[in-house]
Structures are given as structure tokens and as C-alpha cells.
């Protein structure tokens, strides 16, 4: 970084957040260690010990058993493993189980595997409606299960929405599914460290999390899944991770990941209070400058670090570019797989129009966020919205 560079106001922590120093320390402490965690000699045992201690640390933080933690390469792999792995094993047990129920606002790491199972593996996917805050319609879920509970392989409902921040009624989902012994998966990638997450208390059968959203490294995550839940492997090989996820284990990354999870969970309450106050300052600041901006998602029952707005008459893309030019970084929250930005499926599911969806921006705070960051945004947003409106006419 050169001295002349504009200081960056980073408001995209939901995309990825900087590593915390303790996680960097824990990770780098093992980078020069030799030893495959599957080897039987002393070096192998040392590597294995790092992995198992990390597993125990995560288990303690998330209130699960160490044996329930399956390390993966991150949130996307965890979601794929849960969706495909549970679908396959449940259908093998009973070929009638071909239905998968999920919300319409899941992350693409859930939606795309669902779509793939539908086109390639004979699954029937039902995407359940949400209200205008993006929260699952629990009655619709009850109806969908009640219609034919024997045919449901799996229910997948995210803990908190990554775009608009709304928390989902996971408790109600678990209660409905448990009546019929249907396993529940939840993508908790955005929730861990932001809101209290207890695997045992939640009653879910599988939970996805990832390192780089909690102050840990990229490329490592976990699927927490109950021992009783049969999961068919996606990746075959050396039989690591309960034979569910083969591949040489990465002790340094896992050590950094575990340290980050431990710290994030330990500090969750103070973090949520501090960042929540910053977020409230951001929301009221933006609304005072742009009174017709619309805060999307549930106004209170949401992630403490998330503020998601529609700015009527603006293209989110224009606004993002204008803010970026002033050193303020945020996200349109839209999938951009082909380079062509698509209107957010989350906002469309919430009943917003194409134009409303395209006028949206997500600001997400994190452990390095300050009042100065928020104030810089509040100062810049007025003129940027004004300009972006000119460009959309």
C-alpha cells in the first residue's frame, strides 16, 4: 500500500472480513511444521494434535461434539456436502424421499446444488416463499411438509440471510421437521459470531460455517453434522473426516480457523452491541441524507452488522462505482457469475420489482469498522445518489 492511497472505508465485511491477529498467529505458527495429520509417526501425530485440538475448540464454541465437526474448504463446500450428501443418503434409505424444501432466499451455494439435484438426480425442489422482510413463511413450510412428509429428504433454511440480514425462524423449522424425523440443514455462514449460535440448542442436524467470515483464513470451513446423520461423501480418497470428506487435512488453516471461531463466539455479545450501534448510526445517517432510501430486511430481527438499502431511481452498479471512486467499498449483493449483474433473487423473492432490486446496496460492518467509516459513508452517499440518479434517467 502506498502512502498516497485514499484510506479505504471497507463496508463489505459480509463478503469477507480481515483476519484477526490471533488467528494469523495461530495459523502462521504451524506453516513450517512438517507432518501429514494422517501419518503415524511423531510429526504426523503433532499435526493431528493441532487438528483435533482445533476441532475441540470449535465444538466448545458452537456447542457440539468434536466428532460432529467435519472440516471442509469453506461455506460452499459445506453447503454442497449437506445438500447432496444428505439427499443421497436419505434417498438411498427410502427411494420415496426425493423432495427438498428450502427458502427462496438461500445463498447460491445452496440454490445451485438444489438445482443440480433437480436436473441430474431426480430431486423435486420446493423453494418456499418469504415475507417482504425476507423471512420464511413458516405456514408454507408446514403445508409443504404436511402434504407428504414421507417424501421429504431434507429441509434447508439459512440462519441469517447474507444479503438483507434477516434472521430466519430456525427454531420453528426444526420443530416442524422433527415431528416427521426430517433432517434440517442451516447455512450459518453469516450468523456465527454475529448472533448466538448453539448447534445443540438449535436442534438442526447440519450447520455450515466458514473461516473467512469470522476473522479466520480463506479456504477452510466446516460442516457440523450430527453423528446419527448419514452423509454420502462428495470427495472420495483417503477417508479423512469420518470418510465424508477425503483429502489431506490443512492443520495451519484449521488452527487459524478454530482460533477465529473461538474468539468470535466469545466476543459475540460485545461485538454485536458495538457493531449494532455503528449499524444504527449508519442507517439513521443514510436515511437522514437520502430520506426516500428504503431499508430492506427486518428492521430489528437482523444481523447486527448488516444494512441493506434500496435507493429509488439509482442503479446499484452506478452507486457502487461512485462510492468506490471515493474509497468506500460495499456490495450490490447480486450474483455476478457471468459478468452480467442479475437482480438479486432475494429481493425479487421479497416481492420487489426488478428495478427496485437493481437499485440496492449492502453495507456490512465488521470487527475493524469505526465511527469514522460510517461517517465517511454518510457524507458521501448524498452526492453519489444524486449523481447515480442522473445516470439512470
Amino acid at each position: 500500500m502506498t502512502a498516497a492511497q485514499t484510506p479505504v472505508v471497507y463496508l463489505d465485511h459480509a463478503a469477507t472480513t480481515p483476519m484477526v491477529p490471533a488467528a494469523v498467529e495461530a495459523m502462521t505458527a504451524h506453516l513450517l511444521d512438517v507432518g501429514n495429520a494422517s501419518s503415524l509417526h511423531a510429526s504426523g501425530r503433532r499435526a493431528r494434535r493441532v487438528v483435533e485440538e482445533s476441532r475441540e475448540t470449535i465444538a466448545q464454541a458452537l456447542d457440539c461434539r468434536p466428532g460432529e465437526v467435519v472440516f471442509t474448504s469453506g461455506g460452499t463446500e459445506s453447503d454442497n456436502l449437506a445438500i447432496k450428501g444428505v439427499y443421497w443418503s436419505r434417498r438411498t434409505e427410502d427411494p420415496r424421499r426425493v423432495r427438498i424444501l428450502a427458502t427462496a432466499v438461500e445463498h447460491h451455494a445452496v440454490l445451485d446444488p438444489l438445482h443440480w439435484l433437480e436436473t441430474q438426480e431426480g430431486a423435486t425442489v420446493e423453494l418456499l416463499p418469504v415475507d417482504d422482510a425476507g423471512r420464511l413463511d413458516v405456514d408454507a413450510l408446514a403445508e409443504a411438509i404436511g402434504r407428504d412428509p414421507e417424501s421429504v429428504a431434507l429441509v434447508s433454511v439459512m440462519w441469517a440471510n447474507n444479503e438483507v440480514g434477516t434472521l430466519q425462524p430456525v427454531d420453528a423449522v426444526v420443530r416442524l421437521a422433527a415431528t416427521h424425523g426430517i433432517p434440517v440443514h442451516t447455512d450459518a455462514v453469516q450468523a456465527v459470531g454475529a448472533v448466538p449460535v448453539s448447534f445443540a440448542a438449535s436442534g438442526v442436524d447440519a450447520l455450515s460455517l466458514t473461516g473467512h467470515k469470522v476473522g479466520g483464513p480463506y479456504g477452510v470451513g466446516a460442516l457440523v453434522c450430527r453423528r446419527e446423520l448419514a452423509v454420502t461423501a462428495l470427495v472420495h480418497g483417503g477417508g479423512q473426516e469420518r470418510d465424508i470428506r477425503s483429502g489431506t487435512i490443512d492443520p495451519p488453516a484449521i488452527a487459524g480457523f478454530a482460533t477465529a471461531v473461538e474468539l468470535a463466539v466469545k466476543e459475540q455479545a460485545t461485538y454485536a452491541a458495538r457493531v449494532g450501534a455503528l449499524r444504527d448510526r449508519l442507517v439513521s445517517g443514510v436515511l437522514s441524507v437520502v430520506p426516500d432510501a428504503v431499508l430492506n430486511g427486518d428492521p430489528t430481527d437482523r444481523l447486527p452488522n448488516n444494512a441493506h438499502f434500496s435507493f429509488p431511481g439509482c442503479e446499484g452498479d452506478s452507486l457502487l462505482m461512485l462510492l468506490d471512486a471515493r474509497g468506500i467499498e460495499c456490495s450490490t449483493g447480486s450474483a455476478c457469475s457471468a459478468g452480467v449483474p442479475q437482480p438479486s433473487h432475494v429481493l425479487l423473492a421479497m416481492g420487489r420489482s426488478d428495478a427496485q432490486a437493481r437499485s440496492s446496496l449492502r453495507f456490512s460492518l465488521g470487527h475493524t469498522s469505526t465511527e469514522a467509516d460510517v461517517d465517511a459513508l454518510v457524507e458521501a452517499i448524498g452526492p453519489c445518489v444524486e449523481r447515480a440518479r442522473l445516470a439512470s434517467r
Binding site: S318, M321, V340, P341, A391
Partner: protein, 364 residues
């Protein structure tokens, strides 16, 4: 100046962006996403609609050290360029979508958005020269005749030209490639694009038949000679262009043994008329929808170019409600829908869309 550099992912626009930076401008790179569904248009590395092209543009912007964004203009492109292309062909005309894209997208939708967002100009990798003249900014041919792209810019008006930058000017292409390599731009040896970017494999007829579907004016008809005698059948007039020689699949040779060319296309009856090359000779063009680079001339003794990389024909032009172009050198294979770009020496005066042509009278 604050400049938007339109970066296709090719070598020309990458070097143009780098030169704009070097000239002291504050440059932001953009790649235009023009296809609603990239898989439905061309796939491969030679269009401007593929994910690879967007990545190439992004990497070039990284190397140059400028911000980079993708602008989604797929709806505008579809409505203004693709639909127009289809409708024109359905009417039996032969449009040039590249001119249309420059007129409606690159130097209109993009330029308007750029100006509204606080930019001053749009830079592209076109080979053409801008000069300050008495009448404002003048657009001239590039010195490298083989690469000159002033023809496809002939639709730009003074306001558009005033906010345009063509940093490649008249640098010969090989030097641009060398410069790209010297600057560490990995697109230095990427092949040039030639065909219409949204038509896979350059198969216009196949593409049009698939996309037009129910809107095809006909799906079969007669191929006749000038006396009306049927020589064969065809499976749709959209497959034909005036002046076309290949693919007629006529069983019977002409009486004089000479090759036959498409002279006329009649979409309603589905009739394609063929005849010898000399009957294609055109002496007069009537143009509509004129676009002037500067002030509107009342007349011109100059030259006209009728297709990209086509020859220049000396002409005498009268401008009224229409643009009447008398060709001093006859032109062959000229179809309604093509653009006639008018030059005074190397300077682009303006352009018109050919509405009708008058053939050189033929003695029978």
C-alpha cells in the same frame, strides 16, 4: 479529464486505455456486458460477449492499474442492435450492427451514463483520428488503410465526437501489438474479431432463421432470372444478400456460362432474382436517416464508402429530405440497409442508411 475506457477484452482497447492513462487522464475501465445470456451468443474467444473477454479486459485493467467494472447494457443492446438487425433482415435489407452499436450503445448509452456519472469522455480502441477543425472536432481516416475504422464511426455526430477519444489514432496495428507486449498486456497476441459479435460462427443465415422463428417473412421461395423464369428453390430469403454469389445451388448453368449473383430480394413473395454481375452495377443511392459529423452540408463532391473495409467511390451528393448520392464510379452488390459513409478527402462528413439504389441501365 475523467475518461471511461470501453474495454472489449481485445488488444486495441487495452492499449487505448493505457495510452489514455499516459496522456494524463483519470481513466476507469469498463467492459460492456451485451448478452443477456452469454451462452446464447457466441462462445469462444473472439467476440465481445464472452466471460473470457470480460476476464481479459479485467486483467488488462489490472496491468494498466485502473479501476474496472462491468456495465450491463444487455437490454439496450438487445433492443437497439439485435432486434434492429433481425427486423432489417426480415425486411430484406442488409444492416451493419457495428455502426448501430456505436451509434446507440458505445457513444450513446455508455457516453450518456459516463457524462451523468461525472466523466468527460469515452475512449475506445478504434483506428481513427480526431482533429480540431474550423467546424469543431473532425473525424478522419487512420493512415493505416487496412485497419481504418472511420467507416463504423460515421454515425457519430459532433456532440458524440466532442466526448470521444481514439488514442490509437493512426498507429499501425503491428505497432499496437508490440506496444501491448511491451506493456505486459497478455492480450497482445489475441486474434482480431471480424464477425458480428453476437452471431456464433459467422453464420448469419442460420442464426437469423433460428432467432426469427415465426417472424421469418418466408421459409421458402423461388429463385428466378430477370425474365421471371424459375431456376431453383431456396429455404428462406433471410439467407440471401444482394451481390451474393455462393450458396445459390442452381442446377442449371446460365446460358452464357457466367456466374450469377443475387440482384434482388422480395421478402413478401419470397422471390430471389439472380443475374450476371454487370447487372449489379449501381449508379445512384438514395439515403435516409442521415448523421452528420459536423454541420449539415447541402451538397458535397467527395467520396463514399459502402461497407467496412470497402472501396471508396467518387460521388456527388445532394442533401435534402433524403441524401441523394450519384456514384461517379459504379458500385456492385449494394443492398438497402447498408450504411453509406461520406468523406471529403480523409474527413468523415457523415452517413446515411441506403434506402434504395438505382442500377446502371442495362441493354438487353
Amino acid at each position: 479529464m475523467k475518461v471511461i475506457a470501453a474495454m472489449s477484452g481485445g488488444v486495441d482497447s487495452a492499449v487505448a486505455a493505457a495510452r489514455a492513462v499516459e496522456a494524463g487522464h483519470e481513466v476507469t475501465g469498463i467492459h460492456l456486458a451485451l448478452s443477456r445470456n452469454p451462452a446464447s451468443y457466441r462462445s469462444g474467444a473472439r467476440g465481445c460477449c464472452t466471460i473470457e473477454d470480460a476476464n481479459d479486459a479485467r486483467r488488462a485493467a489490472d496491468v494498466i492499474g485502473i479501476p474496472f467494472y462491468v456495465w450491463d447494457l444487455s437490454d439496450r443492446f438487445h433492443d437497439d442492435v439485435v432486434e434492429d438487425f433481425m427486423a432489417e433482415y426480415a425486411e430484406g435489407r442488409t444492416p451493419n450492427p457495428c455502426l448501430r452499436c456505436n451509434e446507440k450503445i458505445k457513444f450513446a448509452a455508455v457516453l450518456d451514463r459516463a457524462l451523468a456519472l461525472g466523466f468527460d469522455a469515452v475512449a475506445t480502441g478504434h483506428y481513427a483520428v480526431l482533429k480540431d477543425g474550423a467546424d469543431g472536432v473532425e473525424l478522419h481516416r487512420s493512415a493505416d488503410a487496412a485497419k481504418d475504422q472511420s467507416y463504423v464511426l460515421g454515425v457519430l455526430d459532433q456532440e458524440q465526437l466532442r466526448h470521444s477519444l481514439f488514442p490509437l489514432g493512426d498507429t499501425p496495428k503491428p505497432l499496437v501489438r508490440e506496444e501491448a507486449a511491451r506493456r505486459g498486456l497478455l492480450v497482445a497476441d489475441k486474434p482480431d474479431s471480424h464477425d458480428i459479435c453476437f452471431v456464433a460462427d459467422g453464420d448469419n443465415a442460420g442464426w437469423l432463421k433460428e432467432k426469427l422463428g415465426d417472424r421469418l417473412p418466408n421459409t421458402e421461395g423461388a429463385i428466378v432470372d430477370e425474365a421471371g423464369l424459375e431456376l431453383g428453390r431456396h429455404d428462406g430469403t433471410v439467407g440471401f444478400t444482394i451481390g451474393q454469389r455462393r450458396g445459390l445451388r442452381l442446377g442449371r448453368p446460365a446460358a452464357d456460362g457466367k456466374p450469377r449473383f443475387v440482384l434482388d430480394i422480395e421478402p413478401v413473395s419470397g422471390t430471389v432474382t439472380v443475374g450476371p454481375r454487370e447487372h449489379l452495377a449501381v449508379s445512384h443511392l438514395s439515403g435516409i436517416k442521415p448523421r452528420w459529423a459536423g454541420s449539415t452540408p447541402s451538397s458535397l463532391d467527395g467520396s463514399v464508402q459502402l461497407r467496412a473495409h470497402g472501396d471508396e467511390h467518387r460521388c456527388r451528393v445532394t442533401v435534402g429530405d433524403t441524401v441523394e448520392i450519384e456514384l461517379l464510379d459504379p458500385a456492385y452488390g449494394i443492398a438497402p440497409g447498408q450504411a453509406a459513409v461520406l468523406y471529403d478527402g480523409t474527413r468523415v462528413v457523415g452517413s446515411a442508411t441506403i434506402a434504395s439504389t438505382r442500377r446502371v441501365p442495362v441493354e438487353r
